[in-house]
């Protein structure tokens, strides 16, 4: 692929701005590295090889994540994980994983362009999400580091608890992103998290 092709994030045209009242934030974290990893969890040799590459253990407990210096491993299923890293890491990450997994039955797929992360932060975060998500996301049951795959306003979403602000990262498929963003903006408006209308058009 030519490097002259401009990259576009799923929400590239939508500039979420900090709320004027500073009681919340809604913005996209574009161009992160998303790598889907599938592997037999019983293959301890492969898991320790991956540990050496990633610097973190793959989480085996459902709905949990493990975070290293520059990478988060997110549980997606008993044999499936999402690796989330900073922009531009997919090439080396995938090469390193493929080398580490040589001879093992595993799958490593770069899905960076297929989904994006929307971050919602502020005291009204849980109220905003509760309008379209049945899960209890209170930090007593969904503490920082927890994750959940569920439906948000009927769109499939992966939710990550980031901190106690609370801050939730919402990972959605690319084609769902404008819809989910519009829904979040609409839901957020009633809770004082105001996004300038012009920016979201």
């Amino acid at each position: 692929m030519s490097s002259s092709v401009p990259r576009r994030s799923p929400l590239g045209a939508v500039q979420f701005a900090e709320s004027p009242s500073h009681d919340g934030e809604l913005f996209e974290r574009p161009f992160l590295t998303h790598v889907n990893l599938r592997l037999d969890p019983g293959d301890t040799e492969a898991r320790s090889a991956i540990h050496r590459v990633l610097g973190v253990q793959l989480p085996l407990t459902p709905n949990t994540t493990t975070t290293g210096d520059d990478l988060t491993a997110i549980w997606l299923g008993p044999d499936e994980w999402l690796l989330l890293a900073e922009h531009g890491q997919s090439g080396t990450l995938i090469a390193d994983l493929q080398a580490a997994l040589a001879g093992h039955v595993a799958s490593v797929v770069d899905i960076s362009a297929g989904q994006t992360v929307i971050r919602l932060s502020g005291p009204s975060t849980l109220d905003v999400l509760a309008r379209g998500c049945a899960l209890d996301l209170h930090s007593s049951v969904f503490p920082p580091g927890a994750c959940a795959q569920t439906l948000l306003a009927r769109a499939q979403a992966l939710l990550l608890a980031v901190d106690d602000t609370p801050t939730i990262d919402i990972i959605v498929r690319r084609s769902f992103t404008p819809y989910v963003a519009a829904w979040l903006e609409d839901s957020a408006r009633d809770f004082g998290l105001r996004i300038p209308p012009a920016a979201a058009s």
Binding site: P62, P78, Q149, T150
Partner: protein
């Protein structure tokens, strides 16, 4: 609304799941050896039990795994859930 206990993700709303019909319905080992009637029986015929029913569900919007739920078809009470090979 049913609250279905996914063996991995925990209890979730039934919106997140896909129903997969009666469980314990193994595919014939040699389909080519069956008569048309036996094959049709495997493909289409289910018991539609009243009461306790073991059935397959997939957590489509979650971990995307198939598992088994035991449900009372009269009261809709969920009696248990488990993985294939495990007991619901």
């Amino acid at each position: 609304m049913l609250l279905i206990p996914c063996p991995w993700c925990g209890p979730r709303e039934d919106d997140e799941f896909t129903f997969g019909g009666e469980a314990d319905f193994p595919r014939p080992a040699e389909p080519e050896a069956l008569t048309d009637e036996q094959w049709a029986d495997y493909l289409f015929m289910r018991d539609n039990r009243r009461g306790r029913h073991r059935e397959q569900w997939c957590h489509t919007a979650g971990c995307r795994r198939w598992f088994i739920v035991e449900r009372d078809t009269v009261t809709n009470e969920i009696l248990g859930a488990g993985t294939y090979g495990g007991s619901p």
